[in-house]
Symmetry: C2
């Protein structure tokens, strides 16, 4: 895992060498898109298979219809999900991952597994910091 760190360092050096303007790198673009509150969650829900609008709403209970609709449209625009409409009454709209969207699952899963694995360590670090601040405050 340590050499991923080295590789990352090399990547950053590469960016600096290549790009005169570090502001429009593809990574920032990606993060602006899927770094929001809902995108990753919705994509992961669709990993298991296609789902309809209200099924997604039920699976993610704290998303509003507004944000659900908006986030799905963004994901569709970016080519990560497909939106299939069956013009019945009532309408039936099904969302599913595209090939591009599926290809994102591998790196996303890596991140999720990291989060699950190191969740406790992060929580412990937060507790330590809280204690340190409390102690510093006592004799400050």
């Amino acid at each position: 895992m340590e050499d991923a760190c080295t590789a990352m360092g090399a990547k950053v050096a590469e960016w600096k060498a290549l790009s005169p303007d570090p502001l429009q790198c593809p990574v920032r673009d990606l993060l602006d898109r899927i770094g929001d509150r809902w995108s990753i969650l919705l994509l992961s829900m669709l990993a298991a298979g296609p789902m309809r609008f209200n099924a997604l709403a039920r699976a993610v209970p704290d998303i509003s219809k507004r944000m659900l609709s908006q986030t799905l449209r963004t994901l569709e625009t970016d080519g990560l999900i497909d939106r299939m409409v069956e013009p019945t009454v009532p309408p039936r709209v099904t969302y599913s991952l595209t090939g591009l969207g599926r290809s994102l699952m591998a790196p996303m899963l890596a991140l999720i597994i990291w989060a699950e694995t190191n969740h406790a360590a992060v929580a412990a670090a937060r507790r330590r910091m809280a204690e340190r601040l409390a102690t510093a405050g006592e004799h400050g």
Copy 2:
């Protein structure tokens, strides 16, 4: 790569089975932290090695001192970076990745490589969508 998708589906199913409340899963917690505008960028800058405050500020020209300081403190609180102060005059403060922070580089690098690889495909999807909307508008 397709089986990462299957694995993700399984993960989600696992969450649903385990957790009565999907709202406090570690993944959401992680995203709330590093899903912001600056965290991933700063972490990747530190991958190459320790850096001082103003060096980071120069490396990420569009971050304000306020956000730099604030983001660094959050990352420190979460145990992802170390903050070492040399009490000289003027002060010299050096930031570096912790072991936990370095362990995050692997999944982060995977995501960055995906972004670089599929950047063009996303841009193409956006263009297609823009065209579709324009065409629909013409005879709407």
